[in-house]
C-alpha cells in the first residue's frame, strides 16, 4: 500500500480524537535539527468543521484487538486497515514540518499484540525524531493504558504531552461499550504519568543547572471523554472530570460529542450528540478550572444535565440571585468571576483600571462586555441592578438564542432553535 493511501486511512481513523493542541511546552531551537516551540501553540490550518490543524494527527495502525463499541477501529468493525512503519511516520512528520504545515506529531494507535508492544512502537517513532533527527517540534503520544511503568517513563522523556483516554465517564459505561477497558487500569497509567512528571519537575527545581535534568512531558497530560454514546449525565461527566483534574493534575479534558460512523454498532445512538452539549461541557470545564466553580455547583440532582439553552454560569447566577448585584468597583476577583458576561481576562482589566477611575456601563462596553447580559447582575457608577434582578422573564432577556445546528439541517431533521 502506498504511503498516501495509508495516510488517508490512518488520518481518517484518528479524527475522532478531539485534541490537536500544541501548546504548553516551550522548546528552543537546538541548532542541529528543525523545530522549536514557543509554548503558545499554532493552528496551521482549519478544517471545514472549524477545527484547528496543529499537528499531524494519525494512528500508527488502526488494527486493534479491542472491541470498544463506540470506536470505529474496534476489532469487529470492517473498516479498511493499514499500518505505517515507524520510519514512514518520521519522514512524513519532517516533510510536513519543514514546509510549515504543522507544529509536530500526535501519534496514537490501535492496540496491537499487547499494550507494551504498542507503546514501544510509538516510542520508537518519537525517539527516532528526537535522537536521530534532533527534532524540536511538538510531540504528543498516546499513553497506552496498561503499558509498563518503564515505557511510560521513556515516552515522557521524548514527548511533550501524554494522554491516556478515559473515553467513557463511568465504569458501568465502559463495561457496556468498551469491555477491554478498565477504569482502574487507565487511572493507573494517569497516575504513573503524574508521578514521573512531578518527580522530574521537582528535580529540575532543585538542580543547579536545569539543562542537565531531562524533562518529562512538559505539556503535561490530557484525556478525552466521549459524550452522548451512553445515557451518563453531565453531572456524572463533571464528577469524573473533577476527580481527574484533582488527582492527576490533567492539563485538559477533551469532550468529544459522539458522532456516528460507518458500521457503527446497534447499541449506539444513531444520531450524533448535539454539538451544543459538548460546548456546554467545555464551558463548565472552564468554570471549574479558571473561575473557581466546583463541579457540583453546576448541576443539581433535579437537573443532572447542563441547560443546553444557556451558559452554565448564567444558569448558576439565575439560581443564586441573592449573590447579586455585584459592584464592579468594589467586588473581589473571586466574586467578579461569577458574574455572567464577564470573562476572566476582563476581570483582570477591570481590577487594573478601577485603581485609576471607577467604571461606568460605558466603560464596560468599551471592554467589549455584552451589556444586555451583564446589566441585570452588576452595579457601576451609573447603574444598579437592584431593580432588574427580580424582573420577570430575566432568563429570556439575557439568553442569547443558539445557532441552528448545521448537522441537523443536513439530515433533514432540523429542530430549529434549540
Amino acid at each position: 500500500m502506498q504511503v498516501q493511501q495509508k495516510l488517508e486511512i490512518l488520518a481518517d481513523a484518528a479524527k475522532y480524537d478531539a485534541s490537536c493542541a500544541s501548546s504548553g511546552a516551550k522548546r528552543s531551537g537546538n541548532g542541529t535539527g528543525v523545530g522549536h516551540s514557543d509554548g503558545m501553540g499554532i493552528c496551521h490550518s482549519y478544517t471545514p468543521d472549524g477545527r484547528c490543524v496543529s499537528l499531524l494527527k494519525i494512528l500508527l495502525t488502526n488494527y486493534c484487538t479491542y472491541d470498544c463499541v463506540f470506536c470505529v477501529n474496534r476489532v469487529s468493525s470492517d473498516v479498511k486497515r493499514a499500518r505505517f512503519t515507524p520510519q514512514e511516520v518520521v519522514d512524513l512528520t519532517l516533510s510536513f514540518y519543514k514546509r510549515n504545515y504543522i507544529e509536530g506529531l500526535f501519534l496514537s494507535s490501535g492496540i496491537i499484540q499487547t499494550p507494551d508492544y504498542t507503546m514501544e512502537q510509538l516510542i520508537t517513532v518519537a525517539r527516532t525524531l528526537r535522537e536521530v533527527h534532533s527534532f524540536g517540534g511538538y510531540i504528543h503520544l498516546k499513553a497506552i493504558p496498561g503499558a509498563s511503568d518503564l515505557l511510560i517513563e521513556q515516552a515522557g522523556r521524548v514527548a511533550d504531552r501524554l494522554s491516556a483516554n478515559m473515553e467513557l465517564p463511568t465504569q458501568q459505561d465502559l463495561v457496556q461499550l468498551a469491555p477491554d477497558k478498565k477504569i482502574d487500569v487507565i487511572e493507573e497509567t494517569m497516575s504513573q504519568i503524574f508521578e514521573h512528571k512531578a518527580e522530574a519537575d521537582e528535580d529540575r527545581k532543585t538542580a543547579s543547572s536545569r539543562a542537565t535534568v531531562k524533562r518529562f512531558a512538559p505539556a503535561g497530560q490530557s484525556t478525552q471523554l466521549v459524550v452522548g454514546a451512553t445515557p451518563s449525565t453531565d453531572q456524572e461527566i463533571l464528577a469524573t472530570a473533577s476527580h481527574l483534574y484533582g488527582n492527576y493534575d490533567l492539563r485538559r479534558i477533551y469532550y468529544s460529542g459522539f458522532s456516528p460512523f460507518p458500521q457503527g454498532d446497534a447499541r449506539l445512538p444513531l444520531r450524533p450528540a448535539p454539538l451544543v452539549r459538548e460546548h456546554r461541557l467545555y464551558q463548565a470545564d472552564w468554570l471549574m478550572r479558571y473561575y473557581g466553580f466546583k463541579g457540583e455547583e453546576l448541576t443539581t440532582p433535579e437537573q443532572p444535565n447542563l441547560d443546553l439553552t444557556q451558559d452554565p454560569k448564567l444558569t448558576w447566577a439565575l439560581a443564586h440571585r441573592e449573590f447579586f448585584p455585584v459592584d464592579v468597583n468594589k467586588a473581589t476577583r473571586e466574586v467578579m468571576l461569577r458574574v455572567p458576561g464577564i470573562g476572566y481576562r476582563n476581570v483582570e482589566r477591570i481590577l487594573r483600571i478601577r485603581a485609576y477611575h471607577p467604571l461606568s456601563l460605558e466603560d464596560l462596553r468599551k471592554l467589549n462586555v455584552r451589556l444586555k447580559t451583564v446589566t441585570p447582575f452588576v452595579t457601576t457608577t451609573d447603574h444598579t441592578a437592584a431593580t432588574t434582578l427580580d424582573a420577570m422573564h430575566l432568563p429570556e432577556a439575557v439568553v442569547i438564542p443558539a445557532q441552528m445546528q448545521l448537522f441537523d439541517a443536513a439530515v433533514g431533521a432540523s429542530t430549529g432553535q434549540i
Binding site: V3, Q4, L7, E8, A11, K15, S28, G29, T32, V34, H36, I42, C43, H44, S45, Y46, T47, P48, D49, G50, R51, C52, V53, L56, K57, T65, D67, R74, S76, D78, L92, S95, F96, K98, R99, N100, Y101, P179, S259, P260, F261, P262, Q263, G264, D265, A266, R267, L270, P272, L275, R349, I353, A355, H357, D363, K366, L406, F407, A410, V411
Partner: protein, 476 residues
C-alpha cells in the same frame, strides 16, 4: 491643525527612524499638535505647503526623555502597522507619557486604546504569518541543495518581526521568504539573514509535490457530520486561502461532505435490526414483526426469518448460530440433524426441549449456492451485531435463569468478539445482557467430528448443559 500649514516631519517606515525624529522633537519642546509626522510611504507627492519648524520652547523641552519599558515594547509593534497615522499617534503618546506616568495602564484612554488595538492587530497578523506561511521545496539537478521558498503577503509590515521565529525553527534549512515589499533569506552555514526587495506574487515558487500528500491529510481529518465553515472562516479569513495549498480542494470537500454523512448514517442504520424490533417485548408481538426485518442483507436470499420456540418463561434459553437449510424451509430452529443431536443430549439428561426456549443469534439462513445445494456460511460479526436486537428482545421477554450459547457465533453475540470458546466453555460467566451465561460447542460440531473427538465433543455439550440446568435450579 489645518492641512498644509503644519510643520511636517517625514518618517522612513522603521522604528529607529521614528525614534530619532521623536527624540529631536522632544528636545525642542515641540508639542504633538504643532507637528505632523507622516510616513514616507504615503507622502510621495505631497511636498507642498510645509510650515517652518516652530520655535523651540525651552519650557517644554525634554532633554532626557523618560520612556517606560512598556511604551517601547508597544511602540516597536505598533510601528509595523500599516495605518499612516501611527507615527503621529506614537509621538502623541510619548509626549503625554512624559507627564502622565501611568497613562499606559489606562486602557480606556482613547490614544492608549487605539495603540493597544493596533498592537493586537499586528500581533495577530504576525501569528497568522507564523501559521499560514507555506514553504515550497525547490531543488534542481544543477543545484540539488534543498531550498525552501515562500511567497506571503502580510497585512502589515511584519517581515522583520516574523523572521526570528523562522530563523529559530528552521535554522538548519536554507530558506527564503518573499513578500510584496521586502524579502529575507536565511543561510544555514553563516546563520544570518540577507534582506532584499519585495517581489510580486508571480515570483512565487512552483507547486511542491508534497502538497498532494498534505491535501490528502487535510481531506481525511475532518468530520463531515460537523461542517462549520463559519468557524473556519473566522479563524482563517478567506484572504489567506490563496496561500494555502490545502484550500484549493475546499469546494470538492464541501460538496462531498453531505453525501459522506448520508452514507455514514445509512450504513449505520442499515446494519441494525433496531428499527424493526417492536418496543413491546412479548413473544407473540416479536414473532409477528420479524418477517418484516431488513436489518441486514441476509433477509434477501433466505426463505424466511426463523424466530425462537419453546416455553415463554423458560428457565433455560438455548441460543444457536443461525437457521440451517431445513430450519430455513420449515421456519423453526433446530429441526435438522444438529437438532437431533441436541434432542438426544437433552433426553439423556432427563429433560424435555419443550421446557426450554430455543432460538438463534442470527435469524436468517446465510449460505452460498453450489449447484442445487445451499452451503451453510457462518455469519460475520456485523451480521451478528445487526441481529442482536432480536435476541435481546427475546431475552427480555423470556427472562431465563441461564442462557446457553451453542457455538462461537452465539457466544460472540452475548459475550463479545474475543470470547475464546474452547478455553472458556463450560463456565458460568456474566454478560452485559444476561447475568448467567454458559457457552458450549454447537451440536453440528459433533456431526462434523470423526473418531474419538465425536464423543469428546458430545460429552462437552452434555456436561455444559448439565451445569446450566443445575444453575437454573432444574433437577434432572
Amino acid at each position: 491643525m489645518s492641512l498644509g500649514l503644519a510643520y511636517r516631519v517625514r518618517i522612513e517606515p522603521s522604528f529607529s527612524a521614528w525614534r530619532e525624529e521623536a527624540r529631536l522633537l522632544l528636545r525642542q519642546g515641540i508639542a504633538p499638535d504643532q507637528v505632523e509626522l507622516v510616513s514616507t510611504e504615503q507622502d510621495h507627492a505631497m511636498t507642498f505647503g510645509f510650515a517652518p519648524a516652530p520655535a523651540p520652547d525651552p519650557a517644554l523641552a525634554i532633554q532626557k526623555p523618560s520612556v517606560p519599558k512598556a511604551f517601547f515594547e508597544l511602540a516597536e509593534i505598533v510601528c509595523c502597522h500599516k495605518d499612516p497615522d501611527r507615527w503621529q499617534l506614537l509621538y502623541r503618546v510619548l509626549w503625554r507619557v512624559q507627564h502622565e506616568r501611568s497613562l499606559l495602564l489606562n486602557e480606556l484612554d482613547e490614544d492608549v486604546a487605539r495603540m493597544r488595538r493596533m498592537d493586537q492587530q499586528v500581533r495577530r497578523d504576525l501569528h497568522k504569518m507564523h501559521a499560514f506561511l507555506r514553504f515550497r521545496m525547490v531543488s534542481t539537478p544543477e543545484d540539488p541543495e534543498e531550498h525552501y521558498i515562500s511567497w506571503y503577503r502580510p497585512d502589515h509590515r511584519i517581515l522583520e518581526l516574523a523572521v526570528p521565529f523562522f530563523a529559530e525553527r528552521f535554522a538548519v534549512m536554507q530558506w527564503t521568504i518573499l513578500t510584496d515589499y521586502a524579502s529575507a533569506s536565511w543561510d544555514p552555514q553563516s546563520r544570518a539573514v540577507t534582506w532584499g526587495p519585495g517581489v510580486p506574487r508571480s515570483e512565487a515558487p512552483p507547486e511542491d509535490e508534497l502538497e498532494g500528500m498534505w491535501r490528502s491529510y487535510y481531506s481525511s481529518i475532518f468530520n463531515p457530520a460537523r461542517l462549520n465553515t463559519r468557524a473556519m472562516k473566522a479563524e482563517m479569513p478567506v484572504r489567506y486561502w490563496a496561500n494555502l495549498p490545502e484550500l484549493n480542494i475546499l469546494p470538492q470537500l464541501l460538496a462531498g461532505a453531505e453525501s459522506r454523512v448520508g452514507v455514514m448514517m445509512q450504513q449505520q442504520s442499515s446494519l441494525s435490526a433496531n428499527t424493526y424490533v417492536p418496543n413491546d417485548h412479548t413473544l407473540p408481538v416479536l414473532r409477528d414483526a420479524i418477517p418484516r426485518c431488513e436489518g441486514c442483507e441476509l433477509y434477501k436470499p433466505a426463505t424466511q426469518a426463523v424466530f425462537g420456540v419453546g416455553l415463554a418463561h423458560a428457565p433455560i434459553m438455548l441460543v444457536g448460530e443461525q437457521p440451517g437449510d431445513m430450519e430455513d424451509v420449515e421456519g423453526k430452529p433446530f429441526v435438522g440433524p444438529a437438532g437431533k443431536v441436541l434432542d438426544q443430549i437433552i433426553a439423556e439428561l432427563g429433560f424435555d426441549r419443550d421446557t426450554m426456549y430455543v432460538t438463534n443469534a442470527v435469524k436468517h439462513f446465510k449460505f452460498v449456492q453450489r449447484g442445487k445445494r445451499r452451503i451453510h456460511e457462518s455469519p460475520n460479526l456485523k451480521e451478528i451485531g445487526a441481529c442482536r436486537p432480536w435476541l435481546l428482545a427475546e431475552l427480555d421477554a423470556v427472562q431465563p435463569q441461564v442462557v446457553v450459547c451453542l457455538g462461537a457465533s452465539a457466544a460472540k453475540s452475548l459475550l463479545g468478539a474475543k470470547f475464546a470458546l474452547m478455553k472458556d466453555r463450560g463456565k458460568i460467566v456474566e454478560s452485559p445482557y444476561a447475568p448467567r451465561v454458559v457457552a458450549t460447542i454447537h451440536p453440528s460440531a459433533v456431526l462434523r467430528a470423526e473418531g474419538e473427538t465425536k464423543q469428546v465433543l458430545y460429552n462437552y455439550i452434555r456436561q455444559d448443559l448439565a451445569l446450566a440446568a443445575q444453575t437454573a435450579g432444574l433437577a434432572g
